[in-house]
């Protein structure tokens, strides 16, 4: 045949290659391929697990954040309530203090008024006594117009000075 083509040798080459191809694929290719596929599968599984864990972490984080937000709002509400209560307590205390102060002042004013009346009463009594004394003295001495005038002046001066002294008290 042209080009030294020999059918038997072609077939022998074919036989040789068939043996080689079968042997190589069974002995070398498939075990290595199997190992690579198994490793890839295990990596994919790990990746899926990691993704799942990340998802779980994300969920827990969101849950924590929502709880934190709820706690913060609860704290803020409690704080607001406490402030409100404190403010109302302070107001009540101030109000009661004011009322007490007003009562004390009213009582003091009342007492002062009463005292004033008492002083006035006693002043009137003393004035009456002075008048009576003066009248008695007038009646007992000789009554001249000059003397009477002088007596009245003396009486009035004494009465004024007593009144002024009492007022000072």
């Amino acid at each position: 045949m042209p080009l030294n083509i020999d059918i038997v040798q072609v077939l022998l080459h074919m036989l040789n290659f068939v043996i080689l191809a079968g042997g190589l694929s069974l002995i070398l290719y498939k075990p290595v391929r199997k190992f690579i596929d198994e490793r890839r599968k295990s990596f994919e599984e790990r990746e899926a697990e990691n993704a799942k864990n990340a998802e779980e972490n994300e969920r827990l984080k969101a849950e924590y954040e929502s709880k934190l937000a709820a706690f913060e709002s609860e704290t803020a509400a409690a704080k607001q309530k406490a402030e409100k209560e404190a403010a109302s307590a302070a107001k009540a205390y101030i109000d009661s203090s004011k009322a007490e102060a007003a009562a004390i002042i009213a009582k003091a004013e009342k007492e002062a008024e009463k005292r004033k009346e008492q002083i006035l009463d006693s002043a009137q009594t003393e004035i009456g006594e002075l008048v009576i004394g003066a009248a008695q003295k007038l009646l007992a001495g000789t009554a001249t117009p000059e003397r009477t005038e002088a007596l009245y002046d003396a009486f009035l001066k004494e009465a004024e000075s007593k009144t002024a002294r009492k007022e000072k008290l």
């Binding site: 072609v10 022998l12 080459h13 290659f17 068939v18 043996i19 694929s25 290719y29 490793r39």
Partner: protein, 295 residues
């Protein structure tokens, strides 16, 4: 009717088909018998280097080209290496690979990726096939670098060439690849698939001669370099090694790429005849693709 069809596991089927192929090829070799006497005498050393007509080697009473001996040697070495790797290396594979493990995984991934890219359907078989073909072409081409000597029928010593520098080896590789593609088309799409592959009847010839031509051209360039005595120092070390490495890589890449592309075309699912509009036809094709992906 209650008929139970026992499904044969893929691995068992593969081994059965493999053994059947070996037995069939052996039978064909025995039936065809010894090659006829060649009375033609060749004088030119170059032509002999190309055609291996005078320097033949005796193989159990059968006169064969040195390329066939190279092919057997390469197969023996590769299978032995694979066996050693299988027994001593693969069981010790780690999740974080070492250098050698990374190299093996890279090689397997390279051919798997090529098969997936060029043939998205039924990638399993073609990936294993092109892995073996790639390894055979690559290491077979590098084999000639060792310059292993063999004794011819005339009692002369001859360096064993690359298996695919022999036209018989290149034809065998081309035809096997064609039969693989044809078989895959038949298996995936029935007779229509096979017919589609048969349309490219020139494929085995083109594949064979591409391989043969590429390796032959390398051989001729090397021969030319050796021919001039002033170039036969130092230069062959560089030229021989670099050219051989380039052939090994390029030819392994070209053949495996071509096989995976043609295989992909052969096993590509047929679109049903468009009776209800293009949208329905596309949807059906996608459904078939998805089902096969799931399988």
């Amino acid at each position: 009717m209650n008929t139970k069809i026992k499904r044969i596991p893929g691995r068992t089927l593969f081994i059965i088909v493999w053994l059947a192929l070996i037995v069939g090829l052996l039978a064909a070799i025995i039936i065809l018998g010894l090659p006829g006497e060649k009375e033609e005498s060749l004088r030119e050393a170059m032509r002999d280097g190309v055609l291996h007509e005078t320097n033949r080697i005796d193989l159990f009473g059968l006169e064969v080209n040195p390329g066939l001996i190279s092919a057997f040697a390469v197969t023996a070495v590769l299978l032995l290496a694979a066996l050693i790797i299988r027994i001593f290396v693969i069981p010790r594979f780690r999740t974080v690979p070492g250098k050698f493990q990374a190299l093996l995984e890279k090689a397997v991934d390279l051919f798997s990726g090529m098969a997936k890219n060029n043939s998205p359907h039924r990638t399993g078989f073609v990936a294993a096939y092109i892995f073996s073909a790639g390894a055979y072409i690559f290491f077979g081409t590098l084999f000639e670098l060792f310059g292993i000597q063999a004794v011819t029928t005339h009692g002369e010593s001859v360096a064993l060439p690359a298996p695919l520098a022999d036209i018989n080896g290149a034809l065998a590789m081309g035809f096997i690849s064609f039969f693989v593609i044809l078989g895959a088309g038949l298996f995936a799409n029935g007779p229509k698939g096979a017919l589609r592959v048969l349309k490219d009847f020139s494929l085995p010839i083109s594949m064979s001669f591409r391989l043969f031509g590429a390796l032959l051209s390398g051989l001729l360039v090397t021969e030319l370099v050796y021919y001039f005595s002033f170039l036969s120092f130092v230069v062959p070390v560089l030229v021989g090694v670099v050219f051989t490495l380039l052939h090994a890589v390029i030819q392994a890449y070209v053949l495996t790429t071509l096989v995976s592309i043609f295989y992909g075309e052969a096993v590509e699912p047929h679109e049903p005849k468009n009776k209800s509009g293009p949208a329905l036809a596309n949807a059906s094709a996608e459904t078939i693709d998805n089902k096969k992906e799931e399988e």
